[in-house]
């Protein structure tokens, strides 16, 4: 039979007979994959991210010993380079910076007197961040901000999970030598702590700090801003640039 050379007319707008089986199989497979993803997400979550260790000792880094503390500042006031670190105590990347970056900064530049390091609190992740920030400010009134902050980072739980309470701050303070807990509790609600927090927030606004951790490195030749958990080499380059 010779094939007709004329195309068979096909009604316009009518659905073509498409095979349904591949689409049904794709939908079923998608359902299974989605269920597996949700199950892993619900149970597992982060495996290799900046999850904190369960340690709870004050100054878990052991890096603060012998360094002068004045308010929120570590190191000499007249150091040629001034490093400011903004952090939120609920921020996991800030805790990671405290573990991985701050010890190097202290060892290479603060301890020799090249730089000082000031912690400025931000409280943007949730209401508990404010509790922690006020605790830090109250500790700064006793020149014990840094060991308290390090201790809280070491105890850090999931964001907005309710771990950062006044009780948690006081528990962390129990391991900080020389920190008067009764005064800390009182000062957490004081106007001085609130005012200090407001100054930190204003400084962040002035510097255009949009995320934490955020480092501002200032010296005689200007300043450099570093965002995130940067390598120590980036801090070194910034210090070289501003000295």
């Amino acid at each position: 039979m010779p094939r007709s050379l004329v195309a068979t007319p096909r009604p316009i707008g009518r659905r073509s007979p498409i095979p349904r089986r591949p689409f049904l199989a794709a939908a079923l497979a998608a359902l299974l994959v989605t269920a597996a993803l949700i199950a892993v997400s619900a149970v597992g979550g982060r495996a290799g991210g900046p999850s904190p260790p369960p340690a709870a000792a004050a100054d878990p880094l052991g890096s603060l010993a012998g360094i002068a503390q004045q308010g929120a500042r570590l190191g000499p006031a007249d150091a040629p380079v001034r490093i400011t670190e903004w952090g939120d105590l609920q921020c996991p990347f800030c805790a990671e910076a405290a573990r991985t970056l701050d010890p190097g900064i202290l060892r290479r530049w603060v301890r020799p007197g090249t730089a000082n390091l000031t912690f400025r609190t931000l409280a943007f992740i949730g209401p508990d961040s404010l509790t922690g920030a006020l605790g830090a400010q109250a500790a700064a009134l006793q020149n014990r901000l840094w060991p308290l902050v390090e201790s809280l980072y070491a105890r850090q739980g999931a964001e907005n999970s309710g771990w950062l309470t006044q009780g948690a701050v006081l528990a962390a303070a129990a391991g900080v030598p020389g920190l008067d807990r009764a005064a800390l509790r009182r000062d957490m609600g004081s106007a001085r702590a609130q005012a200090a927090l407001g100054r930190d927030r204003a400084a962040a606004d002035m510097q255009g700090v949009h995320s934490t951790p955020h480092f501002l490195i200032a010296g005689p030749r200007g300043h450099r801003a570093l965002e995130g958990v940067v390598p120590l080499s980036a801090v070194a380059a910034a210090i070289r640039a501003v000295r």
Binding site: R3, S4, L5, V6, A7, T8, R10, G13, R14, R15, S16, I18, P19, P22, F23, A25, A26, A27, A29, A30, L31, V33, T34, L37, I38, V40, S41, G44, G45, R46, A47, G48, G49, P50, S51, D88, Q90, C91, P92, F93, E96, A97, F124, I125, G126, A158, E159, N160, H210, S211, T212, E227, G228, V229, V230
Partner: protein, 146 residues
């Protein structure tokens, strides 16, 4: 239908490119150890720093990159392979996005605007891919021009 198969593929490609841009940004910020800048609201740091930002150690932003790349491939592929790939990817993407949105609202009490934008893109992609699956173009008949 008012929209041709070609139109659906172009729309899907545009959605995939927009999703790729968002995912690439979130992946880069994550690699740099930073919380993304939130366009609306302030929940990005909370969401991206939470344990739900990873699935078995793989950042969700990287999963998004893979998903949008698959959608782009689906848009480029003609015929049944492209439509099946698109439907599968969009179903997984939209389903998982719905879960993550629920986590943001119900557990973290924070909304990441980038994640919300990605979720909307995934729903749009699902609509387009469903349309591609349901209304396939008429195959060329015998003797039709090749």
């Amino acid at each position: 239908m008012g929209v041709s198969e070609r139109g659906r593929r172009i729309t899907l490609g545009a959605i995939a490119l927009a999703g790729l841009a968002i995912s690439a940004y979130l992946t880069a910020e994550r690699a740099a150890g930073k919380a993304p800048a939130c366009v609306l609201g302030g929940g990005c740091a909370t969401v991206q720093g939470s344990r739900y930002a990873d699935v078995a150690g793989v950042p969700v932003a990287v999963l998004g990159l893979l998903a949008y790349a698959a959608l782009l491939l689906a848009a480029l592929l003609p015929g049944t392979p492209g439509r099946v790939l698109g439907l599968f990817t969009a179903l997984v993407g939209a389903g998982f996005s719905a879960w993550l949105t629920g986590v943001e609202l119900g557990i973290l009490h924070a909304v990441c605007s980038w994640c919300a934008a990605s979720a909307v893109l995934m729903v749009l992609a699902l609509a387009v891919c469903a349309a591609r699956a349901l209304w396939a173009p008429a195959p060329a008949g015998p003797g039709a021009a090749r």
